[in-house]
Subunit: 362 residues, 2 copies
DNA sequence: CTGTTAGCGCATTCAT
DNA sequence: ATGAATGCGCTAACAG
């Protein structure tokens, strides 16, 4: 058990990870009964044919009311739970949607995953979750594995980079939604926003503030880089940049500011690729006695939950992550129902929220 | 698009959520080719029988090297991706594990989910994620739905409350791990720690500090209540308590402190059921001009990433959430392999980390 | 080492 | 409104 946290002080330790005695005989070792209850058992118990039982449970409109009643009771009596695997094999609907995120622990994408799960669950679908670890080749392998599960839809964070994966996905015929980014050539569908426009908007804001000496603290993932490059491009001159490995976090933000001030003393404002990074910049600034925003202005990205409540509150770029997830789910569900999906690329936009860390209110 | 954030100030708006024109003809509407490539096609292309192709790809030990080679090439040539649904139906191994959490967006459980995913993925398993929303009946329904997918294991956050669900899970024969809690009568296996001991340990710490007038800010979920009750029990006298709806967060922490100070002015220390709640208490204390820890000491739970870096840094209870996930995955994988799983209940313990918010270092 | 024969549990044809 | 046959794609048994 390693606790990597740098600021851990052990004051009071509960008895170390221990182990309780086995509470009772291990039932499952008694060989899980291979005879799971099947629809066949229900049909027999109800005195109807297999298919009537099937329809009574999943297509009630085609069966008489009292047959339904009998089958229902029989199903309850024998404790029947339909095997979706078997049903899906024949019907070619798995009622599953696969989602691939770079990192499960990045709070940024959480509202998207949550909305996705909730919208899908309401329609009887479940989510298979995979993590690409910001690695294109892992993403490709993961997508292949997911295709093998024949999901009814696939949601990916970002545009899929591997051309082989794109082609395979197209051939699979599975509805695909690329999220958190836009493209005029999506694999299938896309819901997101323009990272170029975000970078430009923040740079425009910095320019309007009249800041001359600015720096960038950014994660090394592709989307963060796109925003940073757009920032530089709009800003119009080279910008000192500290690059940290994704996923960025608070401690990395502290290190990034240290690096930037080392490279370029006297910076007036920092543009960060995430709120977590920005929070680290704030902490490091305070630790160095710099006043925010007086000595140093800070802008983040993502509008994390705590950002509005920090002291000073954090200027940031807000994206409606939950909306992205809800739309992605809707697109897939519609396509599964055979509805025409139009448009296939949805821009959810973004907003720059000015708060105290750049001289705004709060 | 509603942005519920209370502290949102629109300074600069990107053009409202807009919509891009359809980039190209909708390929998938051209009817997804129902003829997905099957093992049959591979076998034919390789000039071997179906089962030989199957073994070459998934059981290479039973087939000659050059047959494997031929089959591999044939598989690549036709773009074969095995249908795990079909394979699982026969082999009774879905290579899926279901995980149920109260709320996907609660960062507390994220390291557990992440470790679970990673350990499982390394073994070829994937995770199906479900959310119970802190609702026992939803949890029961969700577990039923999950059983229908015949996962090779089920991981649940907390002890399963519904007796019906417990019984059904036992009958299903699916390995189950209840996490983040301990029990001498788990459905099957358990990995967690004692919330009673946590509450007692924090109360003991408060007593040792000599604080007389203390308060509790707690979420209304069962585990938080258990900790709070144990706190009160050990503390030895009634404690003013503010209860907020789970999942607790920073704004709720602000409200909770306001409520507590209203009920009981002059509180010296607050015990919070989560770090997010504690962070809100810190913010509200600062807003009221209370000095932490001088005027008010604060203790959280969970050791969130930012907690060690706040000003003041936050005293908290640390739990190795990732370890819980890794052990849960290991227990299930072992059981799937038919290995004896001993012990079936694992206590990962916890630690009280003293930081500046209660007068500790930092 | 390879092939043949049977299903896994259900839902889609068809029939009645 | 109900039923009988057929097969989804694959793998566990057995054979050879």
């Amino acid at each position: 058990m390693a606790f990597p946290n740098p600021a851990v002080h052990r004051i009071r330790c509960h008895p170390l990870p221990s182990v309780c005695p086995d509470p009772r005989p291990d039932v499952a070792t008694t060989k899980a009964q291979n005879k799971s209850v099947t629809l066949h058992d229900v049909a027999r118990a109800a005195g109807v044919s297999l298919i009537t039982a099937s329809r009574a449970l999943s297509n009630p409109g085609m069966v008489s009311a009292k047959t339904i009643e009998r089958v229902q009771q029989a199903a309850d009596a024998v404790g029947y739970i339909p095997n979706l695997i078997a049903g899906g094999l024949k019907s070619r609907r798995s009622l599953m949607v696969a989602a691939v995120v770079p990192d499960i622990a990045v709070t940024q994408f959480l509202p998207t995953i949550k909305a996705l799960t909730e919208t899908l669950e309401a329609a009887g679908y479940h989510l298979i979750l995979g993590q690409s670890s910001y690695d294109d080749s892992r993403e490709e392998a993961l997508l292949n594995a997911m295709i093998g599960r024949r999901p009814d839809g696939i949601v990916v964070t970002g545009l899929i980079q591997s051309e082989a994966a794109r082609e395979r996905l197209r051939q699979s015929g599975i509805p695909v939604v690329e999220t958190w980014e836009l493209s005029d050539r999506p694999v299938d569908m896309a819901v997101g926003f323009s990272h170029v426009k975000v970078g430009s908007a923040v740079a425009g804001y910095f320019l309007a503030k009249g800041w001359q000496r600015v720096g960038i603290a950014t994660g090394d993932d592709r989307r963060a880089r796109i925003r940073s490059e757009a920032f530089v491009s709009t800003f119009g001159r080279p910008v000192p940049t500290a690059v940290v490995p994704a996923p960025s976090n608070l401690p990395l933000g502290r290190r990034a500011l240290a690096e930037l001030l080392d490279k370029a003393p006297g910076l007036q404002a920092i543009c960060c690729s995430s709120d977590q990074l920005a929070q680290g910049v704030l902490v490091e600034a305070q630790a160095r006695g710099l006043r925010v925003p007086g000595d140093l202005a800070v802008c983040g990205f993502g509008d994390a939950e705590a950002s509005a409540h920090m002291a000073p509150s954090l200027t940031t770029v807000q994206v409606d992550a939950a909306h992205i997830g809800a739309i992605a789910a809707r697109l897939i569900l519609d396509k599964c129902k055979g509805l025409p999906v139009e448009p296939r690329v949805v821009d959810v936009g973004f907003r720059v929220i000015e708060r105290a860390s750049t001289g705004g209110p709060d």
